[in-house]
Symmetry: C2
Subunit: 239 residues, 2 copies
């Protein structure tokens, strides 16, 4: 968590989030009005937060990782945009998005340095994005030799998306490409696996909704239990 995010929470009257995230910031909550929301209720949560600001309250909406990456920032702005159509511009609440450490960076730091170079982040959740669009992005990223970061590789109702994704990536990347899986990064129960593209489906049961996967590019290699994607210094320097 950043110092700026801590400060924002401490300066808030209300803190809104789902239980998982509120549990992780408990030490910051004494004296706050806390509103617990559930997964799937993002629209109601955003609307409620905006309503509370109209009485002059400062409200923090908590996302895991970075609020701007598959998080709450987008839907809060969408709701504010919609509601602002009917009101004076000075009635639109001030909205600040505070950047955070997204799962890509948290996961990468545990694995070594797998995203040193160009990377593509793709969510495998087809709840809000058509699966065809997701497949097209997987193929595009794999064909262009991006390091690929997979968010939401699985969920309760979408158990085969991860295997389907790996199958597509295999059409473009060698089976020896390193793959890292990190579950519960920087949280209780953190676990990491480093394997290869041809073996990763042996760990299909390990992968769950709290896992982020990183698939290397053609230059990525392993060193012990770490993945290194070289930045390219070897092309210019002798070391």
């Amino acid at each position: 968590m950043t110092v700026a995010a801590q400060r924002a929470i401490l300066e808030s009257d209300y803190v809104i989030g789902n239980t998982t995230y509120l549990d992780q910031i408990k030490p910051l909550l004494p004296g706050k009005k806390v509103i617990t929301s559930s997964m799937g209720e993002e629209i109601a949560r955003a609307r409620h937060a905006l309503e509370l600001t109209s009485d002059g309250n400062t409200v923090s909406i908590i996302s895991g990782g970075d609020a701007g990456v598959y998080g709450m920032a987008g839907i809060v702005l969408e709701i504010a945009e919609k509601e602002s159509a009917d009101v004076d511009s000075d009635a639109i609440p001030q909205i600040h998005v505070i950047p955070g450490v997204t799962a890509a960076n948290a996961t990468a730091s545990i694995l070594g340095s797998p995203i040193t170079g160009d990377s593509a982040a793709i969510s495998l959740s087809d709840l809000l994005t058509p699966w065809d669009d997701i497949e097209r992005r997987i193929a595009g990223a794999a064909a262009s030799d991006f390091v690929i970061i997979l968010y939401n590789p699985k969920s309760r109702n979408r158990n085969t998306n991860f295997a389907r994704c790996i199958e597509i990536v295999r059409r473009y990347k060698s089976g020896s490409v390193p793959v890292g899986l990190v579950k519960n990064a920087y949280r209780d129960g953190e676990r990491a696996v480093v394997t290869t593209l041809e073996r990763v489906l042996d760990y299909d049961d390990f992968v769950d909704m709290h896992t982020t996967a990183i698939i290397g590019n053609s230059e990525s290699r392993t060193w012990g239990d770490r993945i290194i994607t070289p930045r390219g210094y070897h092309r210019k320097y002798d070391y």
Copy 2:
């Protein structure tokens, strides 16, 4: 900056970095042995840091943003890997990569929520990566409708890379797609521009080595001086 990064610096005997980054963490440096390095000396810096640990010192190597994204983590691990070939495994220093807020997330937060969905990060610096590889990734990311984040869009010696990149993206994305440019994010002299793909080259002079650019996907839109890329709630909910 994260609380964990602050703590790591405070627990270090040595702090190594280039002047730009050391200036930003001055309040944390009293009592530390500080070693200033220059841009282009990353390999020497990594080697020096590892040498210092062999005497039992704790050393922090500072990167801007996230050390794992176009930062120092990769080269430090590469040098450690190389040197470890000749020594006992217990002589290899412990290396912790501490994740941070990379320019993509910092920039996005200033622009609104442009990377709510799938995104691809590409550095336009061809100092360490062949330009052909960069072009292939630009085309691949644009053709697959990724939000595109451009790191290092320009430098002193590579002034035309940004314009060449935009030209390639234009083959795949509509001219009305929003583009955000942020210079010196969260630093002195911060400035942001929100424009479109067809107009962004009017701001070619604005773009420099301290600028990060974000190009939207086919659903991105502007709301005032913000860019919103919808997560996809509109496909499932009425709001």
